[in-house]
Symmetry: D4
Subunit: 209 residues, 8 copies
């Protein structure tokens, strides 16, 4: 992402020292620096090395950022999750989007097994401009949402499940085969990538204005 956007570090396989060093270099160049997939024990070490580090526990994101980030783009990114266990992925998307200057509207626990919770929130589907839909297990939520909403839908399969989920393969295939058109799919557990794509959509609108 260009000027004004966060620089991003992919945490896994990097030592706290390495992360701290990369952050130090990056903060020279940009106002917001973030690292994803940071477990809380890594954060505990990191916060001693990096001044002013924030931690978004559920999202497992560390960031150097202004205390309040004013949305810099018009439009709202709606983020839905099917189950409680999908929250870390959904929050990775939400925090990434907010740190990048987008307005986010969250709606958790609207899985298809209790379809009425989703239906009683239809106004939300209509008030946002792009939707990120996060679901594990059978991954059916994006199909239902895409049928209800009239905006682009980004589907994020998660590795939540067991047995015939095969590490997220089941919801991934579900989402790719969605009978409702207008759904773009990202990698399993890739909340970050979904937020970047959603952001790209709103930036495109900005440019078209």
């Amino acid at each position: 992402l260009r000027t004004g956007f966060p620089e991003v570090i992919w945490g896994p396989g990097k030592t706290p020292d390495q992360i701290a060093q990369i952050m130090a270099v990056m903060r020279q160049r940009t106002a917001v620096v973030m690292a994803t997939r940071i477990e809380s024990d890594v954060y505990t070490i990191l916060q001693k090395k990096v001044r002013g580090l924030q931690y978004f526990e559920l999202a497992k994101i560390c960031a150097i950022a202004p205390p309040i980030i004013e949305p810099r783009f018009d439009g709202i990114i709606g983020i839905l999750s099917a189950g409680t266990a999908d929250l870390p992925v959904a929050e990775e998307a939400a925090v990434t989007a907010e740190l990048s200057g987008f307005r986010v509207q969250r709606l958790w626990d609207v899985g298809v097994a209790g379809i009425h919770r989703l239906l009683s929130n239809r106004h939300l589907l209509e008030s946002v401009n792009v939707l990120i839909v996060v679901a594990g297990m059978e991954g059916a939520l994006p199909s239902v949402v895409a049928g209800l909403a009239d905006c682009p839908v980004i589907a994020v399969p998660t590795s939540i499940g067991y047995g015939a989920s095969f590490g997220g393969l089941a919801p991934l295939l579900t989402m790719l085969n969605s009978c409702a058109a207008g759904v773009g799919v990202v990698n399993i557990d890739n909340g970050f990538g979904a937020a970047v794509l959603a952001g790209q959509i709103l930036r495109t609108c900005e440019k078209l204005r």
Copy 2:
């Protein structure tokens, strides 16, 4: 299936002659004889060899049976299908059930991409005693239905779809990972097996009475 139930022939890989011969033997033993997966050109040959043969075109089922089969068991089997292309599998289930003496209630084209059509038929979900839910592509329908209905749900994935459907693997995995409990899954395109299981459930109730 015991006395009074149809004898069943699996059509594929059998010549019309072989099917006719087996039917001749079976009709001695039982009032209803049926053969599944019979293409219309096979039926054209068969009807010349087998007296009184009926053909259920959409279901691809041939049967020797009384013109009207009075339901012999209490309870209703509701059969739902997601898309038009899933109809042959859904009809295989419906005709099998009816030939076996069960009452059937059909509801076609209630796929999750247009969830309101399903919701406006909720009374049907409440008025049946066991549900067979047939879906291809992403196969999300059984999860939604199981969340709405308060009866056993039998899920039938179909091979309808393309690409990442992988011949029905996608809806099969979806249904096995259903986040709504109370769903039993049968093989891809196995409408026949679903009807037998649904029938077994209603027979069990008969015995418990």
Copy 3:
């Protein structure tokens, strides 16, 4: 599950504190609260936080429940397991069913490699109203049982096995391809889901009476 049925918590990925809190809320609403996939060390912590907590060690289920649960429904759920290693999954099904008010008949270690043990228990197959059949490795037991029994069969593949079992894929495929009709399959290791489906079947009978 509606009024009178247990509320259920899925244990994995939740801290003991979280489980205890959810249980506290749930026990306000219902007489039976249960949590599945609880390892014994988690139970050790939980029992200090939750008054009157029972633990079913083999089933890995924690529950708040009356000391004795009188069956509230007619009919018996027979539960068969193929090998000793399949017991935790079979017990997950059995305890779930009992906590939900169903009568359960257990039959362990009747795998197909010693078919006579199964055959010498045929009376059991005839005295129950719905069967849950749990098997890992090659998963052949449900096919044999469905051929012998005249009631609905719910097949549960387990992840017991190694090598070409591929985490339970082998018995899953076996069960889906069962040459005996009338078998519904649930996810790998999903004893809980099998019990819910079996319970749904008996409740359906209750309503039909």
Copy 4:
């Protein structure tokens, strides 16, 4: 898609008669009616039954539509394809978008094995507002394009290839694992779905204006 948008028929598994009938019904409701995956021999029959039918041979799309469709939305959908064999899928996307009232910019044969052809067209990447990138075989094009372009990228894997392509599985996995963020993937060969998603993005911009 709502008012003003084409109604769409999925061709495979439908007889020419069925397609003609559905088209007749649909043309009452909407100005543009289209059917996808129509082979030329099916078109030959269809054109005798449906007055004013157009055929887009490469795209395998039949349509009833005004001779010229004026773009109804701002913004341009850029469509790139990697190889000649990917053209039918790319054209399915292009024609769907044009029939839906969007402006399309095509760029064919810019596969990564000859990266300079892509690079010498960088101005195109900068002049469009959303990109559809179609590729079979190894499916690497969307990753490269997403690194160069600053707009949303929709990746379409095709079944073009052989051997270890496994019917399009190879490019599908490639695209899901794209190291460049901001890529949404649709099903194998699903040019139609990509066009609908791209259209949704430009409509969202319209609403935000």
Copy 5:
């Protein structure tokens, strides 16, 4: 196979002319020449080119052989098949064994869904020296047989089935995971290979005598 054993031609992908030529060369060297996977229309052409050609229709084997082949080895190869559709593979094994000079005992249609047919033939299991067990769909028969019999069991999965059979993958995995030890598995539909292995076992015994 050494002196005295048939020379074998694998039919698929060879023209009738090629097969005839290879047979002509081989018959110089050995008393028995056979070709497998020969469809009846290929045989019709072949019989005009090759003098004294026999055809085993069900087995799809063509052979030049003495009219009667006296068993040259002690011991009996028992061959069991689960379903009618598995017969061609079972016959490929049986005819190969007989042409190679072994005594064969056939037992067809003893699938596990009707376990009593198998059990009422237990004497056969006890009177043979090696068993070839052929099964498609869920492929459970070899496990049951290996538990009953006290001789080596060779398991042959077939591609008979549909959906989640995945071309014979399901019975293949079933047989590899057999909970009864003493089972060796050959490739899907490989009746020929099973007969060679069974023959090798009886020849080993011959040498040990």
Copy 6:
């Protein structure tokens, strides 16, 4: 295995206490009791609970057995392994066979990448009566051996390898597709099962004498 043969315990998932208890019961019934897949730390605990326990470290087998087991059957089981890392599986086969009263001839490290080591041991292939061939990685050894030897070959794929080995899937498929006929395959890492099958073959010969 019948009278005189060892009773066998599958170690994984059992506590040392459970194993000790089962052993205590079994030793009443039979002269040889063995347990497979026993890590050395489990043995350390076991030996304190079970009197006279032997440990075969490489094979990971614990046994209660006479100090010397005289072969009770004619014939020799040759056991070959491809690489050093395959030794535990090969030894599982060897020790199982020896404890069951069979004569074993070992030949380690004769992988196909150094074909001359195998060829310079051809006399061994000719002096044994049945061969167990253990190989991981590409699993090519059984094909080569079956081409050289004139006795039954039992192929054991191992999980040794990485990457595209996919846990032993690669050598398993290799062995099932062996272009040399007369090869029976057992599950990945199943040295035990290979020994039982080899033993069954020699017992069959015993009976035929």
Copy 7:
């Protein structure tokens, strides 16, 4: 491939007219034009449209080329095939190499089931500079060859086989897991690509001289 090298057309999915047109354009630019995967009936049409067209039937290659192509590079490419059915792929490699100006040495039918045929040709392995090894079914040949030869080995899996070959997946995995280092693998049936890589190796040597 640069100046002096053939221009190549991938035949599948192109009409004879399209192929003829592309050839016409290409022959302006280069001395040798070739098209791969051309069935003989397509050639029959093509030869009427393209003057001076040669056809290599086994290789399924059409070419416009001088009658004799003098080798333009030092070094010999040895090409080995395991079975007769692998010949089309091996010849695709051989003809591609020859048309590109390389010297080729063929060795057919040296599969590992008859290892002595390979061993009695060891001089060939030593007299060539790069080896292309083509094998289907279990695909073990490249491992054995790489152990014997002291030059780069290019392994080509073929789709020859059935059942657990899964369209060439089995030999592909075998070759990737080769225990002999120094083996590079190309796509299933990709004789063309193997020839290009072998040619690249000899050209590199040319430049290094």
Copy 8:
């Protein structure tokens, strides 16, 4: 590898004692002894047992070797890696090549998402004689490189990635399906094998000179 080349030990599954012992034997025979996949804690133990042991931390290689190894062959092996996380595999290739007496040119972090970094290093692609290209995630780099370079390309997929990478399957398939010919693929993470193949290529050139 013959005289003068390092002897190599595969570290995983060997104790430090075993590795030390094998090294002691090997150093008698050859000037360079190396062991791969050695974690730093294993090295810490090893260095106390083996005199003069070097450790290449990133490559996870231990070696007994002269302090400086003069290149013994003409030509340069270029090694490219896509991402930082791919470095250990790239370094395994580089150190193996250097210890074997080859000249190596490294180029790290030239993944396709930032194609300009690769393009601005085109001179390197032209100055080397064989290329090893290491990439995880979508694995697209070798295709792009093979299109730019005029020398043999060896592609190494890595297990870096998550979700739909399936342990390196995604980049493996990508590389096998490369639309640019002239690419040979080795196993996932097999930097060692790639170096041996590259070395074989330069040795072949040496011999041809």
